[in-house]
Symmetry: C2
Subunit: 324 residues, 2 copies
């Protein structure tokens, strides 16, 4: 099977909203009047972002999910994406599974595959996604103000817990590992929540490298500090309940490491004025997305962690850095 047959079989479908899709030199998009185009690009490398042999359906899902998560963080509605794919060889069952996982998530969000590139090389998946957001309404990292509440969506740390187990750093009962591995390999982008928070959240970003590291980006962009209650964040590791049921409760320090500096969470971290609490709750309900208030924005720069007694935690939690 050649390059063009491969594209035709697995990655070409009739366009519905784009002016022109796969098959010409460029795709053509027609942004709606008054809309800005939100653009994000993520590259997933085998052995770095996923293990060799990872389930191809989940990998297709995840490759798009991490990009949709960036759109969610801006409050943008997904519109279209391009896929550039380097493959060691043409493996049709792999391509079938990968494209099915990818396109199922794309369909769920009305996000069209409009173009891209395929080539031979070490497995590498690069997706660039396009969304639209009414001009001036994008959620940015820079809008947090002293006194704002700090929230995070969904759960935290399960992906990292699974990763540590898959790397052989710790042993988990399969009843614990299974759901956590699902979180690692098929995250849920918080697309509906992001759009629901437009006009309500003062700042937002998605948690991909770990809560504290990503919070640091938000705080620097906004010129503020924050206090985070780790008793709130620790409660967000979903695997804890199952681990207790299995008689193997997770240690406090492991829970903190995974929730505060785990990575691969793809939850939204956002701030909103205290006066917006009812609106924030309504946005969470409208998007059927759990949210948790985990702290407060402070005027003094820097990040303070407290425990359930309100005592300062001095341990440092490093975020993920691809070149550290």
């Amino acid at each position: 099977m050649g390059e063009f047959d491969l594209i035709a079989r697995y990655f070409t479908r009739p366009v519905r909203r784009a002016v022109l899709g796969v098959g010409d030199d460029c795709a053509l998009l027609q942004p709606r009047a008054g809309m800005q185009l939100a653009v994000s690009s993520d590259m997933l490398v085998e052995g770095r972002h996923f293990f060799a042999g990872t389930n191809a359906y989940r990998l297709g899902h995840k490759a798009l999910a991490v990009n949709l998560s960036d759109l969610a963080a801006c409050g943008a509605r997904p519109v279209a994406f391009t896929l550039a794919l380097a493959l060691p060889s043409v493996d049709e069952p792999w391509l079938q599974a990968f494209s099915s996982g990818l396109l199922a998530l794309a369909d769920a969000h009305g996000c069209e595959l409009v173009g891209g590139d395929t080539t031979q090389g070490p497995l590498n998946i690069c997706i660039t996604v396009f969304g639209e957001v009414p001009a001036g309404q994008a959620l940015l990292r820079s809008g947090a103000r002293a006194g704002d509440d700090l929230y995070v969506s969904g759960q935290l740390g399960d992906a990292r817990l699974a990763l540590e187990s898959l790397l052989g750093h710790l042993e988990l009962p399969s009843a614990v590992l299974g759901p956590a591995q699902q979180r690692l390999e098929a995250p849920t982008p918080r697309v509906a929540l992001g759009q629901a928070l437009r006009g309500i959240a003062s700042a937002a970003l998605d948690v991909s490298d770990g809560l504290l590291g990503d919070l640091g980006h938000l705080l620097r962009a906004s010129g503020v500090g924050a206090c985070v209650d780790t008793s709130c964040t620790s409660a967000l590791l979903a695997a804890q309940a199952q681990a207790r049921l299995c008689g193997q409760p997770l240690k406090t320090e492991l829970v903190r490491q995974c929730t505060l500096a785990g990575g691969d969470d793809y939850e939204l971290l956002f701030t909103a004025a205290a006066s917006q609490r009812p609106a924030v709750l309504a946005a969470a309900q409208a998007s059927t997305t759990p949210i948790t208030r985990i702290g407060t924005i402070e005027a003094t720069t820097g990040l303070r962690l407290i425990d359930d007694q309100g005592q300062a935690i001095t341990a440092r939690y490093a975020s993920f850095d691809h070149f550290a």
Copy 2:
């Protein structure tokens, strides 16, 4: 040097036209009223698209040039691009040279770097480029009609000639290899010509995999055939004059192979009604881009090659396929 310092040092510059550039979850673009957005994505893999050790400045240039060539083929004006980069390690002199070559070409075309991704992995460069074109005016592959003239811009085949020499398949005097290698490593996207051809050309695409293969895409998309005069195309291999001066003239069959099925040319192949000849010449002059009429579009599907005597050439020339 960590990931974020790397981005800040080499790939972050003040935005001029985009609403928001590098540093948030998404970049934000504000398309102008009445414009469609042309999008193209290309991935360059070390060992596949370029040799390990290729001059990094030229590689930065080429990575963007191949994408700008796709915009040119649509008649779109470059606006912005994202860069996703997998690097084996942080090599600062390499990054300095790569980003300089990349951004010099970007500046020359007013095309802003607005976002992307960096990660650790086998060297891989994925650029997605955005251009704008007035709604309905994009040049497509599908508009060629029987009787149209067939043109190609610039030169053909020098990149392939250099590649064959660098692969050790043939020996070239350095005075011949040097300029051809420049064509291979730092192609010139025909951006001005593409825009000048809006409303004049009936179909267009860029020659990246080889003239005949890419022409085949245009013919299939348009449902037509073509006759190509190889005496015209053979004359477009610039290295021939220097090779003759060096007393080592290139063989006819090598010239045909390189010009007809070379690859990496990044010239525009386009069609226009015969009545448009004065307008085509004016577009070429206005964009200071040489063009050559190389054949005619025919109603009967299929591709005919003729020599300088008008005799049919029956040899087959295979185009480049990443998985063939």
